[in-house]
């Protein structure tokens, strides 16, 4: 029997008084493409950030590939892992940000090779070959020596996807990857993501692109006020929602 790649159990996260996540539990299975939808402030981005530990959870636990994230159980208590161990755990996930966050002082190619050479300590020429292959995969082989400022938003986001893939993650996290893009550039990024989904990558995508969710997602999760309201096949959740809140959200965005 296969095990979930990500197991989220009773996870809560507060920002001061604000409860961003209220005892959320969820499994993500290997090879699954999951889209998280919901209004802003519903906790879907926070959930992603907790999985790659850019935010630390306040209660509950997240297991990635069978390993408990961020803490170690010892003598009936949880102890925080060192920065080095958290860094090692982060290598299993790749993150794509809403605002790309490419390194502006490095070329597209250098952005991609930075992690493998500096963090994983791999040989530069071997990594370089892989990086060029990744750029080709996202359709930007000709832009290897361009700086981020010379690329369009869509191109920058595709480089960012290649940068995340270069670490050979088991799970790709997308935090509203097309929300900062001009409408005519959304398609090229979604196309790269579709290709990635087809290749069997496990993906969690926070998105407002319901068309993409309908077409690509194996499962759609609707969140509201820090909790999962409804989840299921894309055609069910988006086509025939059962919960009133889901219906209200969908009628508001379409």
């Amino acid at each position: 029997m296969t095990k979930p790649l990500v197991a989220i159990r009773s996870v809560s996260k507060n920002f001061g008084e604000f409860q961003a996540l209220k005892s959320v539990s969820l499994d993500v299975w290997p090879g699954e493409v999951m889209c998280l939808i919901g209004a802003s402030g519903s906790g879907k981005t926070t959930l992603l950030r907790c999985i790659n530990q850019l935010a630390m959870i306040d209660a509950g636990g997240i297991w990635l590939d069978g390993e408990l994230l961020g803490v170690r159980e010892h003598g009936g208590k949880l102890h925080r892992l060192s920065e080095r161990e958290i860094g090692r755990q982060r290598l299993k996930t790749g993150m794509v940000f809403q605002r790309f966050n490419l390194f502006p002082h490095k070329t597209a190619l250098e952005n991609i090779t930075e992690g493998p050479t500096q963090v994983q300590g791999r040989k530069a020429d071997e990594v370089r070959g892989e990086a060029i292959e990744l750029l080709r995969r996202v359709g930007l082989a000709a832009k290897a020596n361009s700086y981020p400022a010379q690329l369009s938003g869509g191109q920058q986001q595709r480089v960012a996807i290649a940068r995340a893939l270069a670490m050979k993650p088991m799970l790709m996290l997308f935090d509203e990857p097309t929300s900062a893009l001009d409408p005519e550039l959304v398609g090229e990024v979604l196309a790269v993501m579709k290709e990635l989904a087809k290749s069997g990558m496990t993906m969690m995508v926070v998105t407002h692109e319901l068309g993409f969710a309908r077409e690509v997602a194996d499962r759609v999760v609707y969140m509201d006020q820090g909790a999962i309201v409804e989840q299921g096949r894309a055609s069910d959740v988006l086509g025939a929602p059962r919960e009133e809140r889901t219906k209200a959200f969908l009628s508001a965005v379409i």
């Binding site: 860094g87 090692r88 982060r90 966050n101 390194f103 994983q120 010379q150």
Partner: protein
């Protein structure tokens, strides 16, 4: 409403007409006035009690050249020490560790809070507090022998500079978008590696203009080391005029050298700025 005609009448064709040059009378007048004032000042100095032949003779005399060499060596070394300390202290200041934070804040408070000349005198006279210094049982020496004018000036100027540079560095690091830290973390980088590889190179672009400013300040601040017998430019100029009483002439010699050095530094700073502007839109290839 009637349908609009192709173009309304009554607006003359201006194509082919140029915009006339303004005469700028006031600019000409003020420039002439300034030149006049400068000429009067120059004439006053030319007729004053200054032996210009002494100025040109002492401009390239060996002791003066040694002085400017010592000034530059000290400025560069003290600035390097200041930048090193500045980065370390800025990183400590931005760390989540309260002990490091407090130590860093205390360092900045102390060395910015007391006059530089006082700090130089304290270092130079350290022997009064600690007659011998060293590691007990391993090595020790008399403080008067260790604390030479060179070392006292280097420590005094460098450590003081570090307190100012740390604030410049901190401002530079704060100017880098938080998303850059997050992107670095997301590819598995620890805090220090992210700082070294991602944040500091971007901070440098912001930091170089104020650092250039600080370095120019440093070149001139080395003259304070004359009070602790460090043989820099002003100290050597003073030694000459103690002997020959040509005070103004030698001060002019020193002043000309400081001006020359600072004039050379400005274009160097521009080269450095271009180096760190990689990837910014303005200077992108």
């Amino acid at each position: 409403m009637k349908p609009a005609p192709a173009l309304a009448e009554g607006f003359p064709d201006l194509s082919g007409m140029r915009i006339a040059r303004e005469p700028h009378w006031f600019r000409w007048l003020s420039a002439a006035l300034i030149i006049l004032v400068l000429a009067v000042i120059a004439r006053a100095f030319a007729n004053g009690q200054i032996e210009w032949s002494y100025v040109s003779r002492f401009l390239t005399v060996k002791v003066i050249l040694e002085g400017i060499a010592n000034t530059m060596v000290m400025a560069v070394l003290a600035m390097l020490l200041g930048i090193f300390l500045g980065i370390v202290v800025a990183v400590m200041r931005l760390s989540p560790n309260p002990v490091l934070k407090t130590v860093a804040a205390g360092y900045t408070w102390f060395f910015r809070g007391t006059p530089l000349i006082l700090q130089l005198l304290l270092w130079f006279n350290l022997a009064l507090v600690f007659p011998t210094i060293g590691i007990p049982g391993l090595w020790s020496a008399r403080a008067v022998d260790v604390m030479t004018p060179f070392l006292a000036a280097l420590l005094g100027l460098g450590i003081n500079q570090g307190a100012y540079t740390s604030e410049v560095m901190r401002a530079g690091m704060l100017s880098v978008d938080i998303g850059q830290y997050e992107a670095a973390q997301a590819i598995g980088m620890g805090r220090l590696r992210a700082l070294r590889r991602i944040v500091l190179p971007q901070a440098m672009r912001v930091v170089i203009p104020p650092l250039g400013n600080e370095f120019i300040g440093m070149v001139k601040a080395t003259s304070l080391a004359s009070v602790i017998q460090y043989p820099e430019l002003l100290h050597n100029a003073e030694n000459i005029y103690y002997a020959n009483s040509r005070v103004i002439e030698l001060l002019i010699v020193a002043g000309l050298w400081y001006l020359l050095v600072v004039s050379i530094l400005t274009p160097l700073q521009m080269l450095l700025e271009r180096r760190f502007a990689r990837g910014t839109l303005r200077l992108a290839r």
